[in-house]
């Protein structure tokens, strides 16, 4: 877990979230809101009916046991409340996050460029950020907050995007290329940019993000709609069955009171899943969000579960994004120790993975640096986008390491020995990256940076294969290099020398076979493929075009997360299926509790169906209703966290889930209702 996730992730049951959810759960009782969840809406109507009976009995308008009716009514209201509470809890973390995001939307002033002069010294007018429209050009200087989403059209700058990503290390944005997108609400730390605004106020990335995390713009996903239809259908079936039952009871001259009838109905309709359904969906999106991936819709998360082909970029996903130093290749007349020591010194302040890998490799060759070198006064020269090198000035000597052409420029014409140039070419051909090291303009040699397959990727791909997901590695490498890495990583297939067109063609081909394809991308030329893919995850570092085309944005820009998103999608569907099965299986026991209780007075023989040996008709009905309400609360953590996910084949997963939620769903209520009955009967029912 990276540091920012720790900083961001609130516990599911954070006291502040619970408190807020309690208030929201009452607001959500509003029938106009509850109507969207048909099952719970029916429970609410039932609660109103029993409450009315209770009031009539209290005031003596009708005969009946007011205490019993009162208790049933109370527990029916609890049933609804528990369901709305579950939804409010699921929304809790998102709402807290939305509040934090809103704070970044404080009044910002923008410098709208009025002329079209090139460079920093342009004319501008100060306007409120809300006045900006698509197409406006603004100037942003160090210390400014970026007034809106846009693409840099001029300049290079480092930007603090922690407001949206939680990551405090600054990122570089520059005009042109794939790192030109800037997000409103983030802050420029150094240098300046001219930015073309790409969205109107209210439609910005942060606005959308607030809407999404808050659940305000949440729409039911296709599968959720289908499940709602199934649950509503079952509810109608039970309503018909119970209306008919009352008619049969009337025929047998033993009609049942409205309170008992409503109790049976509420116990039978699938309240467990009906109450938790929207919470499961929101929690799924929330889980994606906790991994710093912004899903533009629940539909995308759901689709992720269906993905059967994953297109994974080699760099950053399969291999460690920043290549690792694997060998030092000294120039003629330079010892390997000298090169290693110099490279080590140049990388002392380089905190990038490459830098660290150079230090680690150097230490293998030269052990620790001599004390006099370590203790000498040093001035570190950080890497910059302009110089494309970094290093250290110490003892009057300038040590630099960086891109070969940059070092060559430093060394001047003829400063690059031909032997080194030959090594550089060899490294490049093998798919590696050469990095040159120089001291005071003299080239000492090159460092070979190589692709390293991330540890654990092979296992990961095996799991994906077990789940029926095919992995395809996408790389710009030549086929030979690509094959070597593909084999090492254990992916199913690879696309070498990939162009955007080739990527697009691959997606189309897979989709024509009925498969759902997921991919990651960042560049503008990835945008069509991202849009074509069923699940497209854009890197936050990418261009606006890519982010617009994708249906998810990874704020950490970590392509490996696509796999986690797929897992969350699957987990989301599994949780729904498991709770639906559980909910329906529960009904068996409830019948055996309530049916004999309803008619035992008229037909004592029906006591044979009271297999749980419940104390009395009243205690039986009350226990079933209480169980029905409490099971919702008991399952809230499961709904929010999702059922345990295992990367297994469908048959194994199904067998396990049927056993746990199907068979378990039949047995648990027998035990639960009996236990509650023991307590209830102790109170004299």
């Amino acid at each position: 877990m990276s540091k920012h996730e720790v900083h961001k992730q609130k516990s599911l049951f954070d006291p502040a979230i619970v408190k807020r959810a309690l208030v929201d759960s009452i607001k959500k009782l509003d029938p106009r809101l509850l109507w969207k969840s048909p099952v719970m809406f029916v429970v609410e109507i039932g609660a109103v009916l029993t409450t009315a009976s209770w009031v009539r009995e209290l005031t003596g308008f009708s005969s009946g046991d007011a205490v019993f009716s009162g208790l049933i009514s109370a527990w029916l209201w609890f049933t609804v409340l528990f369901a709305t509470f579950a939804e409010a809890m699921a929304e809790g973390r998102g709402k807290a996050q939305a509040d934090a995001l809103r704070k970044t939307k404080t009044e910002t002033m923008a410098k709208r460029v009025t002329g079209d002069t090139v460079g920093k010294g342009v004319q501008f007018t100060q306007v409120n950020a809300t006045m900006l429209r698509k197409g406006d050009i603004v100037l942003i200087e160090a210390g400014d907050i970026i007034p809106g989403d846009g693409d840099a059209v001029e300049g290079v700058a480092s930007i603090d995007e922690s407001a949206i990503t939680g990551e405090s290390a600054p990122v570089i944005r520059e005009s042109g290329g794939d790192r030109s997108a800037v997000t409103g609400g983030t802050r420029i730390i150094s240098d300046w940019l001219k930015v073309k605004i790409t969205s109107n106020p209210g439609e910005t990335f942060i606005d959308r993000m607030i809407g999404l995390v808050e659940g305000a713009s949440r729409q039911k996903t296709p599968n959720e709609i289908a499940l709602t239809i199934l649950l509503s259908g079952m509810t109608i079936i039970f309503v018909v069955a119970l209306v008919a039952l009352q008619s049969f009871a009337t025929y047998l001259a033993s009609p049942v009171s409205i309170v008992v009838m409503v109790s049976l109905l509420i116990c039978l309709i699938p309240t467990t899943i009906g109450g938790l359904l929207s919470a499961i969906g929101i929690a799924g999106i929330d889980r994606v969000l906790q991994r710093n991936v912004l899903a533009m819709s629940g539909r995308a998360v759901e689709a992720a579960g269906d993905v059967s082909t994953l297109l994974l970029d080699k760099t950053g996903t399969i291999t460690i994004g920043n290549r690792m130093a694997t060998e030092f290749l000294p120039a003629p007349g330079v010892t390997i120790e000298a090169l290693a020591q110099t490279a080590h010194l140049s990388s002392l302040s380089d905190e990038t993975p490459e830098g660290r890998s150079i230090v680690a490799l150097a230490e293998q060759i030269t052990r620790d640096l001599p004390f006099e070198l370590l203790s000498a006064a040093k001035t570190f020269i950080p890497f910059s986008a302009h110089t494309r090198m970094s290093g250290v000035d110490m003892g009057g000597s300038a040590i630099r390491k960086g891109a070969v052409d940059a070092i060559a420029r430093l060394a001047g014409p003829g400063g690059m020995p031909p032997e080194v140039t030959a090594q550089v070419e060899r490294i490049a051909k093998s798919g590696g990256t050469p990095l040159a090291v120089a001291q005071d303009g003299r080239v000492l040699g090159v460092i070979h940076l190589k692709d390293i397959v991330k540890p654990g990727m092979r296992e990961r791909f095996e799991q994906l294969r077990a789940m029926g997901i095919k992995t395809v590695m996408i790389t710009g490498d030549n086929p030979l290099t690509a094959r070597a890495i593909a084999e090492e990583a254990g992916v199913d297939d690879f696309l070498a020398e990939a162009t955007p067109e080739a990527k697009m063609a691959l997606i189309r081909k897979e989709q024509a076979m009925g498969k759902l394809v997921a991919m990651t991308g960042d560049g503008t030329n990835d945008a069509p493929a991202l849009a074509q893919a069923d699940v497209g995850v854009a890197m936050n570092t990418g261009t606006m075009a890519a982010k617009e085309a994708a249906n998810m944005v990874d704020l950490d820009s970590n392509p490996t997360k696509l796999i986690e998103v797929v897992e969350i999608g699957k987990q989301l569907l599994m949780t729904r299926g498991a709770l639906t099965t559980f909910s329906i299986a529960n009904d068996v026991a409830k019948y055996f509790a309530i049916i004999p209780a309803m008619f035992m007075a008229a037909f004592p023989e029906l006591a044979a169906l009271n297999i749980m040996g419940l104390h009395s008709p009243q205690s039986a009905i009350l226990s079933a209703v209480i169980f029905n309400a409490l099971i919702i609360v008991a399952l809230i953590p499961l709904a929010l966290k999702g059922i345990k996910y295992r990367p297994l084949g469908a048959a194994a997963v199904l067998r396990r889930n049927i056993l746990v939620y199907g068979v378990g769903g039949v047995i648990i209520p027998f035990i639960g209702i009996k236990a509650i009955d023991l307590v209830v009967s102790a109170f004299g029912f």
């Binding site: 199934l230 079952m234 018909v240 049969f248 047998l252 294969r465 498991a578 068996v588 199907g662």
Partner: protein
Amino acid sequence: MTTNGIIQLLAFVLALVLVTKPLGIFLTRVFSNERNFLTPVVGPLERLIYRLCGVKPNAEMKWTTYSMAMLMFSVVGAIVLYGIMRLQDILPWNPQGLGAVAPDLSFNTAVSFVTNTNWQAYSGESTMSYFTQMAGLAFHNFVSAATGIAIAVAVTRGLVRSSAQTLGNFWVDLVRATLYVLLPISIVVGLIFVAGGMVQNLSPYVTAITLEGAKQIIPMGPVASQEVIKMLGTNGGGFFNANSAHPFENPAAWTSFIQVLLIFSIGSGLTYMFGRMAKDQRQGWAIWGAMMFLFLAGLVTCYMSEQSGNPILEKAGIERAATETQSGGNMEGKEVRFGITQSALFATVTTDASCGAVNGMHDSFTPIGGMVPLFNMMLGEVIFGGVGSGLYGMFVFVLISVFIAGLMVGRTPEYLGKKIESKEVKLAMLALLSLVFCMLGFTAWAVVRPDALKSLANTGPHGLTEILYAFTSATANNGSAFAGLSANTPFFNVTLGFAMLFGRFFVIVPMLAVAGSMAKKTAVPVSHGTFLTNTPLFGTLLVMVILIVGGLTFFPALSLGPILEHLLMQAGKLF
């Protein structure tokens, strides 16, 4: 259970297994328009019919066109049949001079035969002329069965096709089902039945003087020719009121055995055809296995309950156990020719399928023995089921099972590679709801209407069961009656008529819509992540879903009907 009984039941299962594959292969060939051994004989006739009717046999229909053709055919058929009954007094072949059938009864009967229900609110021998029986009722015995088969084939095509718009041609499916499947089997087995002692003539009824000197009228008629299609087409409408309990309709135990086999044969063969068309035979067997399990569960329950009989008789000093000389158990309402085993088998089979023919009186079964046929019908008759309707009805449950359980593997549920989305769920629920609504809704209405209750012969839970059975039988298009209910009243004729209509077309049309929607989808190739529907695990799941959905829906009703009656019987109380 007696050894003799077990052997009879095993023989039946074995016979069913033996006919399934050859029939399935034959059905596949017929409905894939491939040549088969009947083509030289039937082909010219088939082409003649197309030419006469202006049918273009190669023009395939979308689901909407297919549904419209089916509905038009049924509506016109019902109107003509209604007309025949209303005018039978002036039509030929009426040697008994039977009068015109009453309007409400004609409506009920027309609907009944068009929907393949064959609910009979009348006694055939005293109401229907030979012309009505042969030109009206027998005609629909064939074409309503052929319609059912056509729908099953169309739905199968919809499920197995990929990125397609059409489901086949209704007229072609109808004609081929009739000419290649129903007629040839009816002719061959009909002759066997005649050899077994069934009557086949157009003579007036015979008057005989009994040994006691009483005058007895013995009805005659073209029985054997109607009998095969009654079973094979799961129609169940008897020539006589006593149906297959009548010696002229079912002379011996072996004819009874063939009759029950005929009921299941096409339903069973269609599952094989489905597997073959899906290019995965195990898909068919998974469904067949689920059907077989449910059949055996019902059969064993019914048989054991009948064989154990009524405890009250034992208290009266009557031996309940089977002995060398007597069958034991509950013999009330059963033919001695068939005994308990063949009666329980017949009752289970006729209600698993939507046949409705009976060889004993279900009303006289023990409460639990009688609950089995009732529950079979409540499940929508998907256990092999009515010809065609069993398979497409089963797909309703398949869709629901796949949807619920499929989610548990973490993918959008899919069947045969096609995703099941809200549209399919909506249509499946609509089909299920219309069945539940008709079965329970009409019963609930009837039991609180004093005029309807006058039709009851019994009170208490047994009376409730009688009405519930009637509406369940009508909705499921079964047509068997529990007896004890005088259903030939305007109220019952009309309400049961609507139950039959809704129960038939509110399942067919949604399922054709499902087929149309599924045909358009692209099939996803099978992978490790696919929820397999061709395994015993899926078969088990399907059984569980059917029992739980069916059980949960009808448990309240059953608990106040047969279950309560059973418990009261144990306590020594009868109705």
